[in-house]
């Protein structure tokens, strides 16, 4: 090893700083590093949980009021479901999308560019992979939990509880993980925070409207239907609906598979794209 050729005059040598704790070896994707990064998110969440929780309850309530009571008077059933069943389950995906893609974009950009939090963490024994994975994990855990809010609101509107609804949290988690990664990737390539407007209007809005959330996609022309198949949110909507209404079947394996593939793809893409920017 070349370094060994550099023999030194090591004054003061190794007796340095015996105050330090015992040494340990660090590896890749360590739980301790993930927990450390997430503990920061938890502390921040401790300050903001009220407003976050408020909006996660109020938003689906408004959707259900507007669509359920408004459109619901015109539409009695969609694909044999009552309109409340249809919308309450569909809006889960919307809640997951909003509570994952937006934090992915904004939190990443702010912590990286404005607060330089990521710079501080990367000077500690935390790798880019751990940092981004931990941030995505935290966002998606939250998204999974808040994804249940529309169902709770739905109960008040006549949706009946179902054991399969417990699966909605993990579905929200996986979907949220993918969209968190999408958000991180957007933050990594955005020049300014204003660039997010392009993504919000041109990508996220169509994604959530054309996912079978408020109306079925079966009325679309075949070409559009084919495109919708690659919308992860469509698969999230279908899976959530099937879990919540106790009608899981083989097609749901496809939905779950697409969501998992989306999550893994976005995870690696987020690490790759932001990693390039974080390390000079």
């Amino acid at each position: 090893m070349e370094g060994r050729a550099l023999q030194t005059q090591a004054q003061g040598g190794g007796q340095a700083a015996a105050v330090s704790g015992s040494r340990r070896r660090v590896g890749r994707l360590e739980p301790a590093a993930l927990a450390g990064v997430m503990s920061r998110d938890v502390s921040i969440f401790g300050r903001y949980w009220k407003s976050t929780t408020f909006s996660s309850i109020v938003q689906p309530t408004i959707y259900l009021l507007a669509f359920g009571l408004g459109l619901g008077t015109l539409i009695k059933t969609v694909n044999h479901l009552t309109y409340v069943q249809y919308v309450a389950t569909g809006v889960v995906a919307t809640a997951v999308l909003f509570s994952s893609a937006f934090p992915g974009m904004f939190n990443t950009f702010i912590r990286w560019q404005f607060q330089r939090t990521y710079d501080a963490m990367l000077a500690a024994p935390v790798d880019v992979e751990e940092l981004i994975t931990a941030e995505m994990l935290w966002i998606s855990l939250r998204a999974g939990a808040y994804g249940l809010a529309p169902l709770l609101v739905g109960f008040a509107f006549g949706l009946s509880p179902e054991a399969g609804m417990l699966l909605v949290a993990p579905v929200g988690f996986v979907t949220g993980f993918g969209f968190a990664g999408f958000g991180v990737t957007v933050a990594a390539v955005a020049k300014t925070i204003d660039n997010f407007n392009y993504i919000t209007s041109a990508v996220l809005t169509p994604l959530f409207l054309v996912a079978g959330t408020f109306f079925p996609i079966s009325r679309f022309p075949a070409g559009v239907r084919a495109v919708v198949q690659v919308n992860p949110l469509y698969h999230c909507v279908q899976l959530v609906r099937d879990c919540s209404l106790g009608r899981l079947g083989t097609p749901d394996l496809v939905h779950a598979g697409v969501l998992l593939a989306f999550a893994v793809l976005m995870w690696r893409l987020a690490i790759w794209s932001l990693g390039k920017r974080l390390i000079d």
């Binding site: 090893m1 070349e2 370094g3 060994r4 550099l6 023999q7 030194t8 005059q9 090591a10 004054q11 003061g12 040598g13 190794g14 007796q15 340095a16 700083a17 015996a18 105050v19 330090s20 704790g21 015992s22 040494r23 340990r24 070896r25 660090v26 590896g27 890749r28 301790a32 590093a33 927990a35 450390g36 990064v37 503990s39 920061r40 502390s43 921040i44 300050r47 607060q115 330089r116 939090t117 710079d119 501080a120 963490m121 990367l122 000077a123 500690a124 024994p125 935390v126 790798d127 974080l278 390390i279 000079d280």
Partner: protein, 319 residues
């Protein structure tokens, strides 16, 4: 990838110093080059920091000091050259070296929404301070930073000096044996600067290796055992402050005061005789005044200092 295991080892630095090289320097950089597009920020840097010393990296803004610091944490990767920190090879083993060192950045990157205690607790976790010792480590860091009464204040409400002290405390949370300080006192008022200086001095007294970059000559002169002068991405001179002064500015400096015409005249005289001189505010300073013969103009003699050496070396005036 590698080493997923966690093995606790005895706390005997002498025997297990940096990857089993007890005599190795704390930091070794050889032929390190870092380019940003067309700009070469670090240009063939050789640097060796012995264990247990306070090492000052002195240079004007833009000399490549911050880039050098970022390469030591593998937040910037060199285009050429070799870096070892605490015996670990970078960037491959950088995470291990980061575990054992502390970093105080030039730019304040504290979490403004969190309290002092919360920030220190997060970093205690990141630095793998065992759960049972975490609270104690946080308390100790708060005391070092003199922030115990402000432990539960959010950062947004702290003064600039307090924030800087918290930044230092954050880098010391795990009692590292190597600390990187990037321009530790830039932009601080004199009193806070003094406080930080005594803190840095006490680190060295405890045997912690300190690498400090600065563009304040006084800071390097007061604190550093060894000073390396950095200019345009290279180390151009290195030694104790006294050695640098003796080698590059001599013993005495003659300062000649007068109106601009007189100063121009003196500069010309110095140039003609091959004396090393520089404009120093309202005067012309002639270095190595002790070697001047009878031709020396009238002026005030004073001992040469590190600033004289620095200007002679870099041709640049700094604070």
């Amino acid at each position: 990838m590698r080493r997923p295991t966690v093995s606790e080892m005895p706390d005997e630095r002498d025997d297990i110093a940096g990857a089993g090289e007890p005599a190795a320097a704390a930091i070794e950089m050889r032929g390190v080059v870092k380019r940003f597009g067309a700009i070469t920020a670090v240009d063939g840097l050789d640097l060796e920091v012995a264990r247990g010393v306070c090492f000052g990296l002195l240079g004007p803004n833009g000399a490549g000091k911050s880039t050098t610091m970022r390469m030591l944490t593998a937040q910037a990767l060199p285009d050429a050259g070799h870096i070892r920190v605490l015996g670990y090879e970078l960037p491959r083993e950088s995470k291990q070296s980061r575990l054992e060192m502390g970093v105080v950045p030039q730019l304040d990157n504290l979490d403004v929404e969190l309290t002092c205690r919360q920030i220190l607790t997060v970093f205690a976790r990141l630095y793998r301070v065992p759960r049972a010792q975490r609270e104690q480590a946080v308390t100790r860091a708060l005391e070092i930073a003199n922030l115990a009464p402000r432990a539960d204040t959010i950062v947004k409400e702290l003064s600039g000096g307090m924030r800087r002290r918290l930044l230092v405390a954050r880098g010391l949370i795990h009692s590292p044996r190597l600390v990187l300080l990037d321009e530790p006192t830039v932009g601080l008022d004199p009193q806070i600067r003094q406080e930080l200086w005594s803190l840095i001095d006490s680190l060295r007294a405890q045997g912690v290796t300190v690498l400090m970059s600065t563009h304040y000559i006084e800071e390097a002169e007061r604190l550093a055992d060894t000073v390396a002068v950095m200019s345009a991405g290279k180390i151009i001179a290195q030694g104790t402050p006294a050695q640098l002064v003796a080698a590059h500015a001599g013993e005495q400096v003659l300062e000649v005061y007068g109106p601009p015409e007189r100063l121009a005249q003196v500069s010309e005289l110095a140039g003609g005789n091959g004396w090393s001189s520089r404009r120093s505010g309202p005067a012309v300073a002639i270095l190595r005044a002790e070697t001047l013969d009878g031709q020396a103009p009238e002026g005030v003699r004073r001992p040469a200092n590190l600033e004289d050496a620095f200007v002679a070396l870099t041709g640049e005036e700094i604070e």
